[in-house]
Amino acid sequence: MFALGILLLAAILFAALTLWRRRSPAAFRVIDAYERLNRSVGLAVENGTRLHVSLGRGALLTARGGSALAALAMLRRLAERTSVSDRPPVVTAGDASLAILSQDTLQSGYRAAGAEDQYRFSTGRLTGLTPFSYAAGAVPMIHDENVTANIIIGDLGAESALLVEAADRQNTSLIAASDNLAAQSVFYAAAQDPLVGEELFAAGAYVGAGASHGASLNVQDILRWLIILAILIGAGLKILGAPI
């Protein structure tokens, strides 16, 4: 019941803060990677080049689906913003249901921008079902599809190094984030502005996906402080010898 209580608290805070954020938009700290993402999107539209969005292999039936859903929220906003471009973004996924959802999300984005006729189902692609086959299928997109910016966001493992290396060789812009600690280490070593930890989940807020995404970040901050408080109280009680 404690877990349900936390869940309800988060939901209530989220609803209240979303209403508040609609009237008073949040100001976020600058994250270099997202600054570069917004710049790269604008440049890609102006130059008539492509964005490559890699959603990883986060199966939606597992706990890894959270990062995939966050990436889809960002993709939806990117699809709206790039709907005027000659070359639509190309999306690669390593999970079949995620690939289908990426197609749905792209279509929704184009529809919202009033450009549904621009949508092509082939822009949302399944490139492989194992980590390496996924990477091996996604690397040619980076090389051959006139891509100028790569956005790798989702559940990936160490195989993400192959994608990062391909982006680096093509001298394209790279924004990379993952919920997987191995991939985060890879991105830290290989990417220009790596996104660490929960910064992945801020993607929607930083690309302007709406007040709810800003409210999500506020609720995460509140819950984080509650956890810190709980850890400190727990440590204090343990030091005092309380039976916990």
Binding site: L7, T18, R76, S122, A158, D179, E198, F201, S216, R224
Partner: protein
């Protein structure tokens, strides 16, 4: 129609979630819904493979760069799928296809990955020279030295040093995972409340 889709998705999500908290009342419904989701995910694999073939066929038709690889992929897929249907996945020829082609190819990619990671680590200090990058590299090298086998046996005091450094790395990893868990929780709430609709709603 979109409202109905959203309502069904939200209701299913809520039932599955509440099924964890009220197993006596909702466990059976939750299991049915999860079973359906697994079946749909299985069908999605077929749809995904169709998408893969369609994309490659488009590349072949428009004679894009690398379309010959696409043709090879489609041909291999059709042959493997056909033999898989006729012989069954446990047949020795099907196992041979996996052991003689898929496993070596993935092992080769793993080897490339090791070199790529090493190269990325070397370039880290060229790309970003700051205190955290230096600490990152130093700790990675130290861990590698401590865990690697040497002809002279283990490095003296390796266990104690690994345990000591592990305090910081485990603490850092837990901090990151807590942040990710909170992000996942809020993403889930957004989907359950219908704010984010990755299933095609507006």
């Amino acid at each position: 129609m979109r409202m109905l889709t959203a309502a069904l998705a939200i209701a299913s999500g809520l039932i599955v979630l509440l099924g964890y908290f009220y197993p006596d009342q909702l466990e059976s419904v939750r299991l049915v819904l999860v079973d359906w989701a697994i079946i749909i995910a299985g069908v999605a694999v077929l749809v995904g493979i169709f998408n893969l073939v369609a994309v490659q066929m488009e590349r072949i038709r428009t004679r894009q760069k690398g379309s010959s690889y696409g043709a090879l992929l489609v041909l291999s897929l059709i042959v493997t799928f056909g033999f898989g249907l006729i012989l069954g996945p446990d047949h020795s020829y099907m196992r041979l296809a996996v052991n003689a082609i898929v496993v070596p190819v993935e092992a080769s990619l793993m080897a490339i990955l090791a070199v790529t990671l090493l190269y990325a680590s070397i370039r880290l200090l060229r790309r970003r020279v700051d205190a955290t990058s230096i600490v990152f590299l130093a700790v990675a090298i130290l861990f590698l030295v401590l865990i690697m086998p040497t002809p002279f046996g283990p490095v003296p005091g390796d266990r104690a040093l690994i345990d000591f450094l592990g305090i910081f790395s485990r603490g850092g990893a837990r901090g990151l995972l807590i942040g990710i868990a909170l992000g996942t929780l809020l993403t889930g709430i957004r989907v359950l409340m219908g704010v984010d609709r990755p299933y095609g709603g507006n």
